[in-house]
């Protein structure tokens, strides 16, 4: 075998109005085959109305090791949430 088929990530929109969601991955020689395989592997029971495929090597992912500096600073910024602000009881909806 000369070269193995690369890995692709599959995203499926289950119906219009919803976003594409990651469904899984598969191997295919090119994008056309990746789409065809994604249809057979991930949408055999009308799970979707639209498919995206992207070669896995094009995805850049954050590293869980950096989760502290990436995500923890948000925890003490409670002023970004509406419940941080005091309002008089008379104001019913805001």
């Amino acid at each position: 075998m000369e070269k193995n088929w690369p890995l692709w990530e599959v995203f499926v929109r289950s119906k219009n109005g919803l976003e594409h969601r990651h469904f899984g991955s598969l191997h295919a020689a090119d994008e056309a085959m990746a789409l065809e395989n994604a249809r057979d592997v991930y949408t055999r029971r009308s799970e979707g109305v639209s498919i995206w495929v992207v070669e896995s090597k094009h995805i850049t992912a954050s590293n869980p090791k950096d989760n502290g500096e990436l995500f923890e600073p948000a925890q003490d910024k409670i002023y970004r949430h509406p419940t941080f602000y005091d309002l008089p009881d008379e104001v019913k909806h805001m």
């Binding site: 075998m1 000369e2 070269k3 193995n4 088929w5 890995l7 899984g24 991955s25 598969l26 191997h27 020689a29 090119d30 085959m33 057979d40 592997v41 991930y42 055999r44 029971r45 992912a61 590293n63 869980p64 090791k65």
Partner: protein, 318 residues
């Protein structure tokens, strides 16, 4: 990393699992966790792939178009399940080629039940009803296992599996209600598949070496013996309903336990089949390896075509 640091990470890791947190591919994990998962998920994937072979045997000879489309769809699902599981396994840093190589070289195992032959049409009914039935009992608890990609794959698998069992039971029911010869054929299939189905749920708890660790990692939520009892208790009334007899003279309802007592399982047979001496081990692997090798030129051609198209595109862009 020092030994102390690793021990510390180990403890944090075990606590995360105890809190029902999911582990995702890029998270730190103990090497043993990674290896155990590669082994279990790949065995599971291999079983789906090899599992297509005994059923594929009957696609061209299904007794009606209705049965044929159902069987085709079922076998296609098994291929899909194999693919979900292989890609879940690859997130642990093992390549698809390594996984195939382990299967083809005999280094990796697959469920030994697929080393039994499908000699009559009723075997297709028995496989759906009993083998998929036992598989569901094994698989449902895995939907909440600790490794995220495995749990997600299992949710998809379980959703699709119940059609498999129902189509099998329907085949058995139809045969059991048919001519005496058809009923006999159904009974014969049940006789041959019953014991291997019980073995499929794994060695007894006393013999099972991985149970304790697997329970901790939620790779298992019930022991093999508990799952086996559950399978027996749910299947016996189904057999009675369609007038078939479970081939176990010692099978008896135990009012105190609210469960069925059953006769001894022939574990020698189980280990013989696991070790490669079942009736079909050799032809299963020949079929699988043959398909892979004969397909090589197709895979290569597809790759060459893809590269050629890519080069064309690059040239046009310049």
């Amino acid at each position: 990393m020092s030994e102390k640091e690793i021990k510390n990470l180990d403890e944090i890791f075990e606590q995360r699992i105890a809190r029902d947190e999911k582990i995702e591919p890029k998270d730190w994990m103990p090497e043993k966790y990674r290896k155990t998962h590669i082994r279990q998920i790949s065995q599971h994937a291999h079983s789906e792939i090899v599992g297509m072979l005994p059923e594929g045997n009957w696609i061209t000879r299904a007794p009606s178009l209705r049965r044929k489309v159902a069987l085709l769809a079922k076998v296609q699902d098994e291929a899909g399940h194999g693919l979900y599981l292989y890609s879940a396994c690859e997130t642990l840093g093992v390549s698809r080629e390594e996984l195939y190589d382990q299967l083809h070289s005999g280094k990796a195992k697959y469920s030994s039940i697929f080393n039994y032959p499908t000699i009559t049409w009723a075997d297709i009914g028995a496989i759906g009803w009993l083998v998929d039935g036992a598989a569901i009992i094994n698989q449902v608890p895995l939907c909440s296992t600790s490794y995220g990609p495995y749990a997600r794959a299992m949710i998809r698998v379980c959703k699709e599996e119940s059609f498999h069992q129902r189509q099998g039971f329907e085949i058995m029911m139809t045969l059991a209600q048919g001519t005496p010869e058809q009923k006999e054929m159904a009974q014969d299939a049940l006789n041959r598949w019953w014991w291997p189905s019980l073995m499929m749920l794994g060695p007894t708890d006393a013999e099972s070496v991985h149970t304790a660790q697997s329970m901790k990692w939620k790779l298992k939520r019930k022991t093999n013996d508990e799952l086996r009892q559950q399978f027996i208790d749910q299947t016996v009334p189904q057999a009675e309903l369609i007038g078939l007899t479970i081939p176990d003279p010692e099978l008896k309802w135990n009012e105190e336990r609210k469960s069925y007592d059953f006769g001894p399982i022939d574990w020698d047979e189980f280990w013989q089949v696991v070790k490669g001496h079942g009736p079909c081990n050799k032809i299963r692997m020949e079929a699988r390896v043959g398909a892979w090798e004969e397909g090589e030129w197709v895979r290569d051609a597809a790759m060459s075509y893809a590269e050629k198209q890519q080069n064309k595109k690059t040239k046009q862009a310049v």
